[in-house]
């Protein structure tokens, strides 16, 4: 059976872009639930198999994939670790390392390794602590995290007062959006640009989003980053109140991959604040940074999410788009967004926005909005790349649009005919269609990078009258949960297929 899983996994490899697929561990002799006695040879073997690709053969953070990841994998030989229960400048406990291995670091390239058996993870921990002298020179000093008052005793007003007193807003912003006055200038201890966490994004807190995790980050700091330890600056009681307040800022994201449109009669709303937008359900997309022409990512991802509401009236489609961007950049380079549709005749031949445009990839129907342009304008054209539309080589056809920027978020409304006759090759949609739509976002304050979504199905046809059966419920799983289930079920199906075939 194991070899079948192996083969199924190998079959899947080309399908999963840069995902780290891991074969079942060779370290199976340890009893689950027990911590084995450290065996560095076993730990080293597991490290070389699972970790070296990113963290490097010697642990120096210079593995094959390191430059495709941002934040970069840590140089483990320096002994500076972000997520600890210990004082700033001291090494993490074995349990801290075990937890990081087990849970991964959401929002980074570090996956969770909970599929490795517990014994293997402990062997990895033992090996990691052998890579740096810091584990003997600066042994863990535990930090008192105080007592959880429980959610019933949490006082958000008090928590907010602590947030203000401690100066959190300098980096994280008044509303926790990661847009404080110092946000754009932050660098880590190696001089690489970094950004404060957008505290509303509960799904990408690296070290966990529970109040206890937040208290730990507050009191221990996140070593190697600008986030300092507040151990000497705040009481544990205040730290907990702050943590519950920060917890209250977290929002969920409904990554359904489906946006259900609503039909209106008459003109579509142009104002981003028009209440009629609320008639359409919101769909969320998480965005991903695209590697540059060198195959690298050299800046933190600043635009991470986009929400969309779709309305149509049988003639035209209106898209209300909202995404996070800590700075309002209207100069050069400016903030910009492209809505991508598949041009007429390209149905089914979906290209990945991650890699578009590559040479010989098909053109896309793009609707480009730029904050630099005259207000009220987006331009649509079928183009082979983004730059010709940006630089005006292709003039494009003007589409009605309105934009507003408020507290770290752009909201843009773009209206487009369902079946335009003024753009050669443009996507021709009808009111019954299910249309793949993709989004590409540029942050003028982070110009080396663009962020893209997956293709989202915009369902223009009306919902079934009986029940709401096909209405997508908000996803309960956060993060890559959906993707993991998808992979798991494909593995299962492939495995079953092989079993049947073998028989």
């Amino acid at each position: 059976m194991r070899s079948l899983v192996h083969r199924a996994a190998l079959l899947l490899l080309p399908l999963v872009e840069s995902a780290v697929l891991v074969a079942p561990s060779a370290v199976a002799e340890t009893i689950a639930g027990h911590r084995p006695s450290p065996d560095l040879a076993v730990g080293r073997a597991a490290y070389q198999q699972h970790c070296a690709r990113c963290h490097g053969v010697e642990g120096r953070g210079d593995g094959y994939d390191a430059k495709r990841l941002y934040p970069r994998p840590r140089d483990l030989t320096e002994g500076i670790f972000k997520f600890r229960s210990t004082a700033t400048g001291t090494t993490p406990t074995d349990e801290d390392l075990f937890n990081t291995l087990t849970n991964g670091l959401p929002g980074t390239g570090m996956p969770d390794w909970s599929h490795l058996d517990e014994g293997a993870r402990w062997q990895l921990v033992a090996y990691l602590t052998s890579l740096s002298a810091a584990f003997t020179d600066a042994p863990p000093e535990s930090v008192n995290l105080g007592t959880d008052p429980g959610p019933k005793r949490a006082d958000h007003a008090q928590g907010h007062a602590v947030y203000e007193k401690l100066g959190c807003a300098a980096c994280h912003g008044l509303g926790g959006r990661g847009n404080g006055p110092s946000a754009a200038t932050l660098v880590d201890n190696w001089g690489r640009p970094t950004r404060p966490k957008d505290l509303t994004e509960g799904w990408s807190y690296r070290g966990g989003n529970r109040p206890r995790d937040i208290v730990a980050r507050m009191l221990t700091g996140i070593d190697g980053t600008p986030m300092p330890s507040y151990a000497e600056a705040v009481s544990t009681d205040d730290a907990w109140q702050l943590a519950y307040y920060v917890r209250s800022l977290q929002r969920d994201i409904a990554s359904t991959m489906i946006a259900h449109a609503r039909r209106l009669e008459g003109p579509l709303p142009e104002d981003p604040d028009d209440p009629r937008w609320q008639e359409a359900p919101r769909a969320d997309a998480r965005l991903r940074a695209v590697v540059d022409t060198q195959g690298q990512i050299n800046a933190p991802q600043t635009v991470t999410r986009l929400s969309v509401w779709v309305l149509h009236n049988g003639e035209a489609m209106g898209l209300r788009l909202m995404w996070n961007d800590t700075s309002d950049d209207r100069g050069t380079p400016a903030d910009a967004l492209a809505v991508a549709l598949l041009p007429q005749g390209l149905g089914g031949d979906v290209v990945s926005l991650q890699t578009w445009p590559l040479r010989d990839t098909p053109s896309l129907d793009l609707c480009l909005w730029s904050a630099a342009q005259t207000a009220g304008e987006a331009r649509e054209a079928v183009a082979k790349d983004f730059s010709t539309l940006f630089d005006g080589t292709i003039a494009g056809t003007v589409r009605e649009s309105r934009a507003a920027y408020l507290d770290g978020e752009w909201t843009v409304v773009i209206t487009r005919p369902l079946a335009p006759t003024d753009v050669p090759g443009a996507a021709q949609l009808d009111a019954q269609a299910i249309v793949p739509v993709g989004f590409v976002v540029w942050d003028g304050g982070n110009p080396s990078q663009r962020a893209v979504s997956m293709w989202i199905d915009v369902v223009l046809r009306p919902p079934k009258t009986r029940g709401q059966g096909h209405e997508a419920a908000p996803s309960k799983t956060q993060g890559g949960g959906g993707a993991i289930w998808a992979i798991a079920s494909v593995v299962l199906v492939a495995g079953l297929g092989l079993v049947i075939k073998t028989r």
Partner: protein, 268 residues
């Protein structure tokens, strides 16, 4: 020459001198007169008898010259934090390359690098101070002895984080969100230099020379230094600058003698 040093930096230099010379002997006449203007900071200078332990009467003095055209000092923009900007009426520049009127280089850390092997020196009982004032570090460059208390003070009504990136001792990154907050730290091993930054205010940087003995100094407005109270011997003296790196010279001094060393840094 480079940029007109602000009054603050003049007093800052005085503090550097006061802290920097472990023996508590101000080594510059001009610095001496300036310290008088700030008795509070003078009081922080190590005058403890424990620091007088090196039993010698030799001394090494010298100056650090600078040749060539210094780079223009970078103007600090404090717009992002009104609490910082409010404390300055004049333009603030990064104190990186500061060339004195007499053609010498300021903020050079001078210390005995070799020649004291086998001797041990207890840390002074008094603390050195790193002050955050007007969203600048005071002093910008200074020295402490291994094990000496370093008192880190926030004199600003704004958040500072003190991110000291030691590699030979435990590094730390501490938040000081309120005015008057004070934290004590010390370094366990010699290191040239420990750089401290404030990530909230990215122009802030301080360099701390951590030395196992009291023979160190920092050049001020006259660009001179004095390492007094040394036992007779042959010493390698090093001069370190944040932009121009480190130079060394060797000098032999006998009891009661004063050896002279001249360093010169060139514009790049």
């Amino acid at each position: 020459m480079a940029s007109a040093p602000r009054a603050q930096f003049v007093t800052l230099a005085a503090l550097v001198v006061a802290i920097g010379c472990g023996g508590g002997k101000p080594q510059e006449a001009s610095a001496k007169s300036n310290t008088a203007a700030r008795p509070l900071q003078l009081a922080q200078a190590p005058e403890d008898p424990a620091t007088a332990q090196p039993s010698g009467s030799a001394a090494i003095t010298g100056r650090v010259a600078f040749s060539g055209a210094p780079p223009a000092a970078e103007r600090v923009k404090m717009d992002a934090d009104p609490q910082c900007a409010l404390q300055h009426t004049d333009a603030v520049h990064k104190p990186e390359v500061v060339v004195n009127a007499n053609g010498t280089l300021k903020h050079v850390f001078v210390y005995v690098q070799q020649g004291l092997e086998g001797k041990s020196f207890a840390a002074p009982a008094s603390a050195a101070t790193l002050n955050q004032h007007g969203c600048m570090y005071e002093p910008h460059v200074f020295g402490v002895q291994v094990g000496q208390e370093l008192s880190i003070v926030n004199s600003d009504a704004t958040l500072h984080n003190v991110n000291c990136k030691a590699t030979k001792s435990k590094p730390f990154n501490l938040a000081q969100p309120t005015k008057g907050m004070k934290t004590s730290k010390q370094f366990a091993a010699p290191e040239i230099m420990v750089k401290c930054v404030c990530n909230v205010h990215p122009w802030m940087a301080a360099y701390i020379g951590v030395v196992a003995h009291p023979y160190f100094a920092v050049t001020g407005d006259e660009g001179t230094f004095s390492l007094a109270g040394l036992p007779a011997g042959t010493y390698t003296v090093a001069a370190w600058h944040e932009k121009y790196g480190e130079q060394t010279q060797t000098v032999t001094v006998g009891d009661g003698e004063t050896g002279s060393v001249a360093f010169e840094f060139k514009a790049q």
